[in-house]
């Protein structure tokens, strides 16, 4: 079929397009010289990354804490919210639907400033805690939407069946609903982790003493001639996440099978 040759060609071109910058990163991470031109093969940036970059690793640690912590909480709250919205009628239902939509169309910088003004108005000390709260806030709507999309594929009759068999609300939730929508929950959690790891603007405003995250670190480092170390870190992180995804393949398959 001619059409599939066409789409195949576009897809192949797109993949090359998407991977071009990564090739550049790999190239630079092994480059002895720090300005554009090739200065010979070298592992110096990797050496520096693993032996002489304490600030970078501290930022990495902060990012990991925030990403896992905020994604976990956002996933828990967002999943429950989606269950409620999907099957039940209650007051504030349309309010919740609207509010979960807003973070997608508001400029991030405004979300960041509003949170900063809010926290300082309440006299909350800025730091990891405020970053955590902010990340839960912008992650929650995404988890909510992803879980909701999964829920829409199921019928309420399943719940009714469980009830008819004498299950309590908690039992229904734990034994029927959650397992059923687990793929949606997992994708929501991973989305939240990714969003949190990438966020720069909002974090920038709500961060406080000692709570520098990886994107904030990268932002300042990249302007000051130490980007080869950052390139090396990127390569390591890509390899790490690919390995992680590969190993999680079976885990996800297991969840999907349940």
């Amino acid at each position: 079929m001619k059409r599939s040759i066409f789409s195949k060609a576009v897809f192949a071109g797109t993949i090359v397009f998407l991977f071009l910058p990564l090739a550049v990163l790999v190239f630079y991470s092994f480059n002895e010289s720090k300005s554009g031109s090739w200065g010979g093969f070298s592992l110096r940036w990797y050496l520096k990354l693993f032996t002489d970059s304490p600030d970078l690793w501290r930022a990495f640690g902060n990012s990991a804490i925030i990403a896992l912590g905020s994604a976990a909480v956002a996933t828990a709250i967002g999943t429950l919210g989606a269950i409620g919205v999907n099957w039940y009628r209650f007051r504030l239902r349309s309010y919740l639907r609207t509010v979960t939509f807003l973070p997608m169309i508001l400029p991030e910088i405004i979300i960041g400033v509003s949170l900063l003004v809010f926290f300082s108005g309440l006299g909350i000390r800025l730091g990891l805690f405020t970053v955590f709260v902010a990340h839960v806030s912008f992650n929650l709507p995404f988890v909510f939407l992803l879980v909701l999309a999964r829920l829409e594929e199921f019928d309420f009759s399943i719940i009714e069946a469980a009830r008819d068999l004498g299950a309590t609300e908690a039992q229904t939730l734990a034994r029927v609903i959650l397992p059923m929508i687990m793929p949606g929950i997992v994708s929501g959690f991973l989305t939240a982790v990714t969003l949190s790891l990438e966020d720069f603007v909002i974090t920038f405003f709500v961060t406080g003493p000692g709570a520098t995250t990886l994107p904030l670190y990268v932002y300042s480092a990249i302007r000051f001639g130490i980007s080869p170390v950052i390139n090396a870190l990127s390569v390591v992180m890509i390899l790490g996440t690919v390995a992680l995804t590969w190993s999680m393949r079976n885990f996800l398959k297991y969840i999907a099978a349940k």
Binding site: L116, S120, L178, G210
Partner: protein, 346 residues
């Protein structure tokens, strides 16, 4: 197997809470420093931590605006900030800074009196202790360009069209044009600013862009040949053996200049340690190490003898510079209007 998933979900929540709890806590004497990116080398901070038994937490910003907006919106928790002169006066007026007890900073005596004499934003150092002084200049890749004058007029040179950038910073660009015209960098006369706007508009077709982010990288790669910017950014991007080809100069007409000072925030929790730190930073050996690292001249007189690196420019080169001062709200609005006209085109 059903409850396994439920348990997994619960475990996620517990994990989140634990991970967060582990992040808080810790004890001991601390100092929270809010500083320019890479302004003080790590080993200097580590030496201070060791000799004074203090844990210094450093966060960085890359512009005065970034730092100031954060603080004025209520961002708190820091003890020391390092604003430039114009922002020192703004922050004094906003009540963000603590009045200093200079008897606790004896090393202030090391600072060049000629520098202190030029301070208009805080004449008696009631709120600020001078740390580093410098200016944005012009860097030329001398392997690509020749026969140019050490003047702001270089940006009017059509032979270099498409190879030059100026900073994305209205004070620096308008300041350059004002100096080129023979006015003060703090001029708020609308007629003078209109003239300055026309000068910048005449330079604009020769510029690739207004860039304060990536100009040094592209200068190092050979893409840009003439850039307005800070010497330390440009030199840090270059491999050492090629640095000979950089011609860094301050235009003969003069230029906007900064003086970054240590200030203690009015909400500081660790005031004693903050004084210790500031005094430590002004000691000759430490000031020399900082200047060596940044390859900048030191305003600290005894430190100059101790420096082992030749700075990118000398302290005397700064004589032609003029400190940027706060413009006031009306002045700021005027500059904004002119700058927007330049950036957007109407």
């Amino acid at each position: 197997m059903v409850s396994k998933s439920a348990r997994a979900a619960l475990a996620l929540v517990v994990l989140g809470v634990l991970v967060l709890a582990s992040a808080c806590g810790g004890s001991g004497q601390k100092l929270y420093l809010y500083n320019w990116t890479y302004y003080i080398p790590d080993d200097v901070i580590e030496d201070f931590e060791r000799s004074h038994g203090v844990d210094v937490i450093v966060d960085s910003y890359s512009s005065n605006e970034e730092m100031y907006n954060k603080l004025v919106a209520g961002g708190s928790g820091y003890d020391i900030v390092v604003p430039s002169g114009d922002y020192v006066s703004i922050m004094i007026a906003e009540g963000l800074l603590k009045e200093l007890d200079l008897s606790r900073v004896p090393n202030l005596a090391n600072v060049d009196p000629s520098a202190i004499a030029r301070i208009g934003f805080d004449p008696d150092n009631r709120y600020s202790v001078p740390f580093m002084m410098g200016a944005a200049g012009v860097s030329v890749n001398s392997s690509k360009a020749e026969g140019y004058a050490h003047s702001w007029s270089i940006f009017g040179d059509e032979r270099l069209r498409g190879r030059m950038t100026m900073l994305d910073d209205m004070r620096e660009v308008l300041g350059a044009a004002l100096k080129f015209l023979g006015y003060s960098v703090n001029d708020v006369d609308p007629a003078h600013l209109e003239q300055a706007r026309q000068v910048v508009e005449s330079w604009k077709p020769n510029l690739v862009k207004f860039d304060a982010e990536a100009f040094a990288k592209s200068f190092a790669s050979g893409e840009f040949w003439v850039v307005q910017g800070y010497a330390e950014n440009v030199f840090l991007e270059y491999d050492e053996e090629r640095r000979g080809e950089i011609d860094f100069f301050f235009p003969q007409e003069g230029m906007p200049m900064y003086l970054d000072s240590f200030c203690i925030l009015s909400g500081a929790q660790n005031v004693d340690t903050a004084y210790q730190f500031i005094d430590y930073m002004l000691s000759p050996e430490i000031a020399a190490r900082v200047s060596d690292y940044l390859m900048l001249p030191s305003p600290n007189v005894p430190a100059r003898e101790l420096m082992t690196v030749t700075p990118n420019y000398s302290f005397d080169d700064l004589a032609a510079g003029e400190f940027k001062e706060d413009l006031g709200l009306e002045g700021l609005k005027l500059y904004n209007k002119v700058w927007r006209q330049i950036r957007v085109g109407n």
